[in-house]
């Protein structure tokens, strides 16, 4: 078998997907699954590896079913898939945390000792909190402002909605077009400063 995928960029494989090449889906899987899983596990270090893998698989399946959703002019496929997987994972963790919280309140009284936020709680919310803490530490090392640090944390969770970033940056009063430009400027600034500080920046690739 020709290892085409090893010498091709992910964007080139994506172009083959758009051309209905039947082996492109296989080549993309071989190229992207492991790197995405490793990158996502680094962002959510305490998260169950199976959940991480599922989020990566979901992101992969989405691009296979709807390859036109990715526009190579707007960034790298790696960044796109990583954001999608991180978003899926963060949402799954929030869902599990809510479910777990309800479950505990019904089944385990406080005296049993299993409370949210304590170290004996096998919590999904802790995974999220730890990922945020890690992002904030990296932001602090890069000298980002608190607002920029919050934006960075959201980027790490795969958040993509412009209005969320605009709210964090206090830009709600601006015209939507101006909000988009200002949010983009801020994200670009964050990435550059993280790079300069020598911090790993998956979204920068």
């Amino acid at each position: 078998m020709s290892p085409f995928f090893e010498s091709e960029t992910w964007e080139q494989i994506h172009a083959r997907l758009l051309q209905d090449d039947p082996v492109a889906s296989s080549d993309l899987a071989r190229a992207c699954l492991e790197p995405l899983r490793n990158a996502l596990q680094r962002r959510f270090p305490r998260c169950d590896p199976d959940l991480v893998q599922q989020a990566v698989h979901d992101a992969y399946l989405e691009i296979i079913r709807k390859p036109h959703l990715f526009n190579p002019q707007r960034g790298s496929l790696r960044g796109y898939l990583l954001r999608a997987a991180a978003c899926d994972l963060a949402n799954a963790l929030r869902r599990e945390a809510r479910h777990h919280c309800r479950h505990i309140s019904v089944e385990l009284p406080a005296v049993a000792g299993n409370l949210l936020g304590r170290e004996d709680e096998p919590s999904f919310s802790l995974c999220l909190a730890e990922a945020r803490q890690q992002a904030e530490q990296r932001a602090a090392r890069a000298g980002l402002s608190p607002q920029e640090a919050r934006c960075w944390s959201l980027m790490q969770e795969g958040q993509y909605r412009n209005e969320v970033f605009a709210a964090v940056l206090g830009l709600e009063d601006l015209h939507p077009d101006e909000q988009i430009r200002e949010v983009k400027r801020t994200k670009d600034r964050i990435k550059i400063r993280l790079k300069r500080a020598g911090e790993e920046c998956d979204d920068c690739t």
Partner: protein
């Protein structure tokens, strides 16, 4: 199980992927992974990658080209792959529910007609 193998297993019910057709074929022949790989002439460690190919498009001109492309990419005998895919397609079609008729029609006597 590698990430690739786990994904190939996960998409066995998804007819977008060759995994689905190969799973039907393998079940009909009672083949495990090693036997399926042998039947297709595929190295066992490439089976997951093969399963993650897209299923051939159904239009006759595309179908042949897609099967040939997959066989060529993995160095497989095109006829063996074709047989497995065709069988998989037939079994998948048999398993799919038949379309239900839009409505049922029943005969009714006209007013005044004698019943037999």
């Amino acid at each position: 199980m590698t990430a690739l193998e786990a994904l190939a297993r996960r998409v066995e019910d998804d007819s977008t992927f060759l995994a689905c057709l190969l799973a039907h074929f393998a079940r009909s022949e009672r083949l495990d992974d090693a036997a399926l790989a042998e039947r297709l002439g595929c190295p066992p460690d490439q089976l997951a990658a093969l399963r993650l190919c897209r299923s051939p498009r159904p239009e006759p001109n595309h179908f042949r080209a897609d099967v040939a492309r997959i066989a060529g990419h993995f160095g497989l005998d095109v006829n063996r792959l074709l047989e497995a895919i065709r069988r998989g397609q037939v079994l998948l079609a048999l398993q799919s529910p038949l379309p239900r008729p839009a409505g049922l029609l029943a005969a009714r006597d006209r007013p005044g007609e004698d019943r037999p």
